[in-house]
Amino acid sequence: MIFLKRQLPLMIAFVFGMIGIMIGYVPHQSMEDMYTELVGWDRLLAAFALLLGMYSLLRMHFKRIERRDSGFGYSIVLWTGFLITFLVGIYNEGDWIFAQRASHGMLNWIYDYIFKPAGATMFSVLAFFIASAAYRTFRARTGSAALLLVAALVVMVGQVPIGDMISPKLPELSTWLMEIPNAAVKRGIFLGVALGVVATSLRIIFGVERAYLGGE
């Protein structure tokens, strides 16, 4: 079992990791063909990953209901929502799953009148929490914090049309902040992240990093 749990995944990671690197650096048709083949496999695995994610989520919530953990009522809501949506989807307005998905009916009703408003509500609630957080934490405690504060206020007003009404210079200053200091910092961050990704990928390929294998 240790072979299946440890050595085999490490071997797969090494072989496919090396192939991935070679594809990027070996300009040969065979590599391009292999790339095409692997892309197909990857898409297939991604579809299975969706199923795996669903299984993992449902299992976790089932355990919470079983153990009567605090907030297990939310897990019941999740399971109920899943079962109703799943059954309605399978039923497909009487055409079942072998026909094209019905363009109207219960599944669309759930999407339009439950999922869409719930999603939009979650996002819009952010405005309230951001306002509260900004009031509490945005303080000019130091010189650099004051600089950040001034930049944030300029961008906040300069990005919306009312900034243009206050002064035409505000949107210009806001654009300058976004295009010059912001872009410079972002570029530095992206380069750092990219180098980090390369380092982590090499650690995984050569089996130094094994956290993805999970526990015993």
């Binding site: 999603g119 996002f123 306002a131 009031y135 509490r136 504060l149 049309p161």
Partner: protein
């Protein structure tokens, strides 16, 4: 002002702030006032790309990579870009990388097409959602028909005049991703960089700053950032709609935020001075 009062103001119950935000939003929504929207250069770049498609007759690929949570901010962008495309007789292929976004993309395409009498299959096609994300983009670049042999209705893409000659992503005149996730990055890293097509982004206000470095390098041609970007695009096509209306509450809340932050800082300094003088 007493230190006790200052401390109470510093620890203002957040429900008061929630109430201020609510009142500002409702006030700005109910009271009608004009806010002029001056389109930025990066928004005009998107507009120009669609105009170029009109001249060249090439197809626009619009990827609506958002879910219902991102809809209020991002759908106005999709709508504005689609209106411009249909207005200028530009053919559109729509899709999404978001499994929860399939209906959203379909609805906005159908509604906008209906406004201009555009017909499915002749003026636009919808591919829907397919799993894969980065690998789907690569697959579309290698062989478009292999990645999407059928549209969301299950009809062969070769049977539509718009898609029958598209063999790769590079056959599109412009690809525009309206994204609330890292999809915009995926389109660039695995798509436009490898298959060399013109690419633009519509992103949420929070994500837009991440896009700026790639605008400077020319890897991204045009950006609509947040609802403001959509409002500016609506101004460009002379069709003010939801984004333009949304500018009123958004402006009011931004001003409120600035006032709250300034007020918080004034109280903070007064309290600090009171604390220091109390200690002396």
């Amino acid at each position: 002002m007493k230190r006790q009062t200052l401390n109470r103001l510093l620890d203002l119950d957040r429900r008061w702030i929630f109430l201020f935000v609510l009142v500002a939003a409702i006030f700005a929504r109910l009271v009608d006032f004009d806010l002029p929207s001056r389109p930025k250069r990066i928004v005009k770049d998107v507009y120009d790309q669609i105009e170029l498609l009109h001249e060249s007759g090439e197809v626009l690929l619009l990827s609506m990579d958002y879910d219902p949570a991102g809809k209020p901010e991002l759908e106005p962008m999709s709508r504005a870009v689609l209106r411009h495309a249909f207005m200028r007789d530009v053919k559109v292929v729509g899709m999404t990388h978001n499994p929860h976004g399939q209906n959203l993309g379909q609805t906005v395409l159908e509604e906008t097409a209906a406004e201009f009498g555009s017909k499915y299959g002749e003026d636009y096609v919808y591919l829907g959602y397919k799993a894969g994300f980065a690998t789907l983009v690569i697959n579309m670049g290698q062989d478009f028909y292999d990645a999407f042999p059928l549209d969301f209705k299950g009809v062969d893409l070769k049977s539509y005049p718009i898609t029958k000659d598209i063999g790769s992503l590079s056959d599109f005149g412009y690809v525009f991703s309206v994204a609330s996730t890292a999809a915009w990055e995926v389109w660039m890293v695995f798509g436009s960089e490898k298959y060399r097509f013109k690419y633009g982004v519509g992103a949420t206000g929070v994500m837009a700053p991440d896009v700026y470095p790639f605008l400077q390098t020319g890897q991204i041609k045009g950006l609509l950032g947040g609802l403001v970007g959509a409002a500016e695009y609506e101004t460009l096509i002379d069709r003010p709609d939801r984004a333009a209306v949304g500018m009123r509450p958004q402006s009011a809340i931004h001003v409120l935020l600035v006032l709250l932050v300034l007020f918080g800082n004034v109280i903070f300094f007064l309290e600090r001075r009171a604390r220091r003088s109390g200690r002396a």
